[in-house]
């Protein structure tokens, strides 16, 4: 994905020389990441014959898409120096309710809208708690994470909700292919493209970077900080709802345990993609490459037969290494 970065948005927000510096640094970060991804792909192809087979590559892309959508939502949030721990639980609640709606015969378009609306609503509630009630994002979304998980379990009575009869109309989202690629991948690309445009070509996007870099300075320059924050949490919830729809479609079941650990996976992706948890740094391109890196890594380790426990150790190490490289690079 070759992307051209515009000089002007950096210049507008931060002043000319700093803007150019930011632009160059962003480019260096992205190309560094891209190099890491390429190296990983080459190693995987060398280690395993199965890696480059079309079936396997499609699997990898699908994994990128499944985690990537939520990660993009989290990118919005992390850019404002916030955090959203509740995305996994939002996926669970929307999964369960989607399955239940399908089973009572609600038409598919309505189910889709309902799922997106539910995700948006939960995101909005997070945002309101953080802006109106001034609850720190970590605490608010932690509480939401626990509550929503309990809510999902209550709704589903602890059991998975099978979607059998209406699966045919719905399974195309997660299961089918369109022009050779899984529908989920197309959805991800659309979300990524849209998010890129929002972040780099709209005022809202510029405000997000501003709030993340320095919330006080942003406020003093007239940016509506609470509205911006409300927006990013809502987006995060919305994308979690979308992910839930894809999950239900793919597995043909709504599980109250869906999305367990998803938030940490997404945070890892965003952070490896070069975002700073202190806000202001990061973007869709970085997150996408981060998602690709983790997906290829997991796939490669699976194909080679590395135990899942060892895989976890490796993944954690990668996260730490990636972030320390990023910190070192920024210090220079």
């Amino acid at each position: 994905m070759a992307m051209q970065f515009q000089d002007h948005d950096g210049a507008k927000t931060f002043g000319t020389s700093q803007g150019i510096l930011q632009f160059l640094m962003r480019r260096a970060a992205i190309s560094g990441l891209l190099m890491a991804l390429i190296v990983l792909v080459v190693i995987s192809a060398l280690i395993s014959d199965a890696f480059l087979s079309p079936y396997n590559l499609i699997n990898v892309l699908r994994q990128v898409a499944l985690y990537g959508i939520v990660s993009i939502g989290l990118t919005f949030v992390i850019l404002t120096a916030g955090i959203d721990l509740s995305v996994g639980s939002i996926v669970a609640v929307v999964s369960v309710s989607t399955a239940m709606l399908l089973n009572i015969g609600v038409p598919v378009p309505v189910v889709i809208l309902a799922g997106l609306a539910a995700g948006t609503a939960f995101g909005l509630i997070n945002g309101l708690g953080i802006t109106l009630l001034q609850i720190p994002p970590f605490i608010m979304t932690l509480g939401a994470m626990v509550m929503l998980r309990g809510f999902a379990l209550t709704l589903a009575d602890g059991r998975p909700i099978d979607v059998t009869s209406t699966a045919n109309n719905f399974s195309w989202i997660g299961g089918a292919n369109m022009a050779g690629m899984p529908v989920a991948v197309w959805i991800f690309l659309a979300v990524a493209a849209l998010s890129f445009l929002v972040l780099h070509y709209t005022d809202f996007g510029r405000h997000i970077y501003a709030v993340g870099s320095n919330a006080e300075a942003a406020r003093l320059s007239g940016i509506n900080v609470p509205a911006t924050k409300l927006g990013v949490y809502t987006i995060s919830g919305l994308l979690a709802g979308l992910t839930a729809l894809i999950f239900v479609s793919r597995l043909t079941v709504g599980e109250p345990t869906a999305g367990t650990g998803l938030e940490l996976e997404a945070i890892a992706i965003v952070v490896i993609g070069g975002a700073s948890l202190f806000g202001g740094v990061g973007g869709v391109v970085g997150t996408t490459i981060g998602a690709c890196i983790l997906a290829v890594l997991a796939n490669m380790m699976n194909l080679v037969g590395i135990s899942p426990f060892t895989q976890q150790i490796v993944k954690g190490a990668i996260i730490i290494v990636a972030v320390s490289l990023e910190v070192l690079r920024r210090r220079r």
Binding site: Y55, N56, N59, P160, L251, V253, N302, L303
Partner: protein, 324 residues
């Protein structure tokens, strides 16, 4: 190990040609691979749903070790779903990408794994389901069955108590299909003997501590001589009950049975503390055996029911260390 276990093969699946020479309807088979040519190379993928219980570890390790020892031409690739069906689905996709000849799977949940198993079957890859099933046809489904084992336990109680006595039942997790079945089978048998009564029953969630607490209360409720036997839905709860009974000093008058065949329970039988336990076979090495049969073109189509053995002090020495 395979010689000592009697397995009754029940072919329920309809259609398809059963190429396997020795199998037909309801024939006892000790060793599915007896006399079979083991020279063909096979790549078998085994997707396990979770390894969070020793029984599942025994299933996985049992198949792995047996294949390593007895099937030198088999490359067995094992994945662990880590208690997430989403992960298990992508594990299966990953196995399929490695061009396996046969898929062995113990699905975490029925429905979530159904689409991907359907894909595998449609692609001509035989699927062997272990212990749990999916909502689509598979080549072979191998499991032990809770209800028959529970009935076996019921008959055991009738026999040992000579058709008369008070029984305490300690049940597994409420709503779990295994608990429901282990209760139903047992109560079915007891109901036909009017002098045998289940005087108290409680669900202890398959946990040792819960069972011990319940047993303590029961021992208070029913004085000496009023309890003859305890039927626990699993070994852990049986061991908990024993703790309470020994503390009250009433072990001589109460017989306790477990279920599963854990090594600590087998040892307890050998030590004379646990009266008996009923094994719940963990589908090893049957899993990889039937997978190999499918690979060489002689699949056992249908359901294979694994029999349970009753372990008492009479045969315990054959079983020590063979549990999980």
């Amino acid at each position: 190990m395979t010689q000592q276990r009697a397995r009754i093969v029940t072919v329920i699946g309809a259609g398809g040609l059963t190429l396997l020479a020795t199998a037909s309807i309801a024939v006892a088979q000790d060793d599915p691979l007896k006399g079979v040519d083991l020279s063909k190379k096979c790549k078998i993928g085994f997707s396990q749903g979770t390894m969070n219980h020793p029984w599942r570890v025994a299933m996985t390790e049992g198949n792995r070790k047996w294949a390593a020892e007895h099937l030198p031409n088999v490359d067995l690739v094992i994945t662990d779903g880590q208690n997430s069906s989403a992960k298990q689905v992508s594990d299966v996709e990953s196995l399929l990408a490695q061009n396996i000849d046969v898929l062995m799977i113990s699905p975490l949940t029925e429905q979530a794994l159904t689409p991907v198993v359907k894909d595998a079957m449609a692609a001509g890859i035989p699927v062997i389901a272990l212990d749990r099933k999916v909502n689509t046809d598979v080549t072979t489904y191998i499991t032990a069955q809770n209800e028959p084992i529970a009935r076996q336990a019921g008959e055991f109680f009738v026999d040992k108590l000579a058709g008369k006595g008070n029984i305490i039942q300690i049940e597994g997790t409420a709503g779990a299909s295994s608990a429901v079945e282990r209760k139903r089978g047992f109560e079915e048998v007891i109901a036909t003997h009017p002098d045998m009564k289940i005087v108290a029953t409680q669900n202890a969630d398959y946990l040792r501590e819960n069972a011990a607490k319940f047993m303590e209360d029961v021992l208070q409720r029913f004085g000496p001589g009023q309890i003859n036997g305890v039927y626990a839905h699993n070994d852990e709860m049986a061991l908990g009950a024993i703790k309470a009974i020994e503390a009250a000093g009433r072990q001589k008058e109460i017989m306790v049975t477990g279920l599963d065949g854990q090594n600590n329970a087998i040892q307890a039988v050998a030590d004379g503390k646990l009266f008996a336990t009923f094994t719940f076979p963990y589908v090893a090495p049957e899993g990889v055996e039937y997978a190999y049969l499918a690979c060489i073109g002689k699949p056992m189509k249908g359901d294979v029911t694994l029999n349970s053995a009753t372990i008492t002090v009479d045969n315990v020495k054959d079983w020590v260390g063979k549990g999980f």
